[in-house]
Each structure stands twice: as C-alpha cells, then as structure tokens.
C-alpha cells in the first residue's frame, strides 16, 4: 500500500491527464500481483482525481502560486494531507475488494487497521527523505 506515496508526492502540475493515466497503470500493476481485479486502479485513480481539492483544503486557495513541494512543507500539513489521501484511497479500495454491503463493519475495520499501518510506514519514509532545513 506504500505506492500511495507516489500519488501523494507527485509534483503539482497542470498536466493532470498524464497523472491520471500514470496512477491507473500503477494501480493495474498492483492488481495483477494481488489478484484484486481492478480495485487498486480504481482507488488510485479516484485519489488522483480528488487530490487538487485536498491540496486546496490543506494549503489554501493559493497553493498553485507559491510553487511549493509537498515534501518541503511543515510536518503537520503533510500529516493532514496524508491522512485524507489514505482514508479516501483505502475506503475506495476495500469497498471494491469486499464488494458486499452487508459487511460494512468489516470494511471499516480493514480501512482503519490497514490505514493506520500505511500512515505509520509512509510517515517514516517521508521523515527519512524530507530535506532538512539548513
């Protein structure tokens, strides 16, 4: 599930068509390895599509002007954005994998537990690769 970081860290750009296609292909590769049909692809495409709105939510209206990178912003902003991204991605993924409305509890349980693990590992990686302010 760490591949969500790719979508998370992708630079802010206007070429969203390419970004959508890349996310779709990435998801499809995950699907072939895990035998999940198209659940990874659907979840990552959805996350890619809503990412600009999340960015607007977290960094405010003017995020495009400032020409910033996700990695260089404050750790609290990164955490908030990561939390939103992973909740959306995992909810989408597990609702497609479980595909059964009678198992809503199972869906929420899986989203919560796997989501927590993903956030932990992702935050560790981000802290490791985050450029230090000198």
């Amino acid at each position: 599930m760490i591949y969500v970081l790719f979508i998370f860290l992708y630079p802010f750009e206007n070429n969203r068509l390419l970004f959508l296609i890349l996310a779709f292909l990435l998801g499809l590769v995950m699907d072939t390895f895990q035998d999940t049909g198209g659940a990874h692809a659907a979840a990552s495409v959805t996350l890619t599509f809503v990412r600009p709105y999340l960015l607007k939510l977290v960094y405010g209206e003017s995020y495009k002007m400032k020409n910033i990178k996700v990695l260089t912003t404050g750790i609290d902003r990164i955490f908030l954005l990561l939390l939103l991204c992973i909740v959306i991605h995992h909810l989408m993924f597990y609702s497609l994998v479980i595909f059964n409305s009678s198992q809503l509890f199972q869906l929420l349980k899986m989203t919560l537990s796997v989501g927590l693990a993903t956030i932990l590992v992702s935050m560790t990686i981000i802290l490791l690769i985050k450029p230090r302010r000198s």
């Binding site: 296609i21 779709f24 390895f33 198209g38 199972q106």
Partner: protein, 275 residues
C-alpha cells in the same frame, strides 16, 4: 460544435477519470465472478517469475517449520506403509507402485498466498507444462487448500477455500450426512458447514471430511473439527462452525490431486440429466 469542443476541453480531466474508473470497475466486477475469462491475474510470466523470486527469498525464514511438517508427514506415511506391508502378500505389494492408481499426486510450491480479503487466491509454481488443468483439487498434508482456477505454462492460480464463491461438498465423519462448506470472509481459521438437515447427529468435536460426491477431491480427507452447532431457519437446518485443521495463513508445499476417473464420472452424471 464549438460548444461541444469547449465542453470537452474544460472537463477533460473529469472525463478521463470517469473512463479509467469504469475500466477499473469492470475489472473488479469480473474478478468477483466465479468462472471468468480475465487477463488481470497473477499467473502471467512476468508476475509469476517475480513472485517466485520473492518466494525463494522468503523461504529461508520458513525452513524449520517446513522441515517439521515434512518429517511428521513422512512418519505418518511410513506408518501407513508398514500397515499396508502387513496386509498385502507377495506380488500384490507392487500395486502401490503401479500406474493404475485412481489419483495422481503432484507436489507444488506456494509462491503467493492470500487470506485477508473476501475472495482469496493462491499462486503455485507449476502449470500446464506439468499437466495441471483447471478444476483439479489442491491439498496439504493436513487438509484442503482449494481448486485450480487458471493455468499458464509455468504457473497456476488456485481459488482458496477462503473465498466467498467457494462451496465444497463435505461430510460428517462416521455418518453419511453431507453439507456445503463455505466461508463468510471473517476468520481464516473457521469455515461454515451449511444446509445440514436437522435430523443429522452432530456434536462438538466431530470431524468433518470430504464427501464422496466430489470429483475434485478424494473422499475421506479430514478438513476440520466441529466448533459450534447452531439451528437456523426456524430450526430446520444446522449451521455448523468448523475449525480448519490446516493453517491457511502458513502454506509452503502443497499437493495437486489429479483424478483419473473424473471424466468418466462426469459423463455418467450428465447422462442422468439428459435422460
């Protein structure tokens, strides 16, 4: 016309998103159907080879456990062999080594195992080059694993018994009561034996074995032990919780079962239907 093009340019992101999302959705829905012709699965040459590489690495951490399994199975087989040697006399002993046995057993290695989803699949490192065909049964020394689903030249995919689409014919040992063994998707150690008639005699601790009605698995393979018995549908049927004997979360080596008489039995069965 200008308006349509403007509209397309304005909403191109949304449109592309909708297209890609529906493609992914189609794949997902396909993967939830039982008999399917899908091309997104883990038996391809590239994915299979990568999974196998990964497995050769992980295998080292599991060697002790696998050695223990194999040696205990060897001991059990040796016991059987000694008992057999006692009963068979002279030339009849060669029966064991002849080609006319009804079941052919092919060993295989699990290179990918899943148990955390609702529909789980296992990938094996043998395929149609080793005479593996769809619908053959897969077992371990302790119990059932699943049924072969898709085969490529060198790899094959197994529908795990931990799959909501799976329904197996099973029987309570010592009686001829049969039922269907299914999985509800929650606990990888527990399966449910449903559609057991109320008059069946069943109690906690009984053993569940494979039935004679299946052409996929040989009869009398032990599957699990009865954990809990509940009457459902106004007390007309039993719903039995079965604790599996083998650990589906820890699979190393498995055996694929090829039934010699399968086609013959199926021909007889369809004859009855056409009558």
């Amino acid at each position: 016309m200008q308006h349509i093009i403007n509209f397309l340019i304005k909403y191109r992101n949304l449109l592309l998103y909708l297209i890609l999302f529906s493609v992914a959705l189609v794949f997902t829905i396909q993967s939830h159907e039982y008999q399917r012709t899908m091309f997104i699965h883990s038996t391809g040459n590239v994915t299979g080879a990568l999974l196998e590489k990964r497995n050769t690495f992980y295998e080292y951490f599991d060697l002790d456990q696998q050695n223990e399994y194999l040696s205990s199975e060897n001991a059990r087989l040796r016991m059987r062999l000694l008992a057999l040697g006692d009963t068979l006399l002279g030339s009849e002993t060669t029966l064991i080594f002849s080609d006319s046995l009804p079941y052919k057993v092919i060993p295989a290695r699990v290179i990918k195992n899943g148990y955390d989803k609702l529909d789980n699949f296992i990938t094996l490192d043998i395929g149609s080059n080793q005479d593996i065909e769809p619908d053959m049964g897969v077992i371990t020394s302790n119990g059932l694993v699943g049924i072969i689903d898709v085969t490529s030249a060198d790899y094959s995919r197994v529908i795990s018994i931990l799959n909501s689409e799976m329904s197996l014919n099973a029987q309570i040992k010592g009686t001829s009561t049969i039922g269907s063994l299914t999985w509800d998707g929650s606990d990888p150690y527990i399966m449910n034996l449903i559609d057991v008639p109320r008059r069946a005699i069943v109690s906690k601790g009984d053993t569940i074995i494979t039935g004679y009605q299946s052409t996929t698995f040989p009869p009398d393979i032990e599957i699990g032990v009865v954990e809990n018995v509940v009457l459902v549908d106004n007390g007309s049927r039993y719903d039995i919780q079965v604790r599996l004997l083998n650990n589906m979360t820890d699979l190393g080596y498995v055996y694929v079962i090829k039934n010699r008489d399968k086609e013959a039995i199926q021909i007889i069965d369809t004859l009855q239907i056409n009558e």
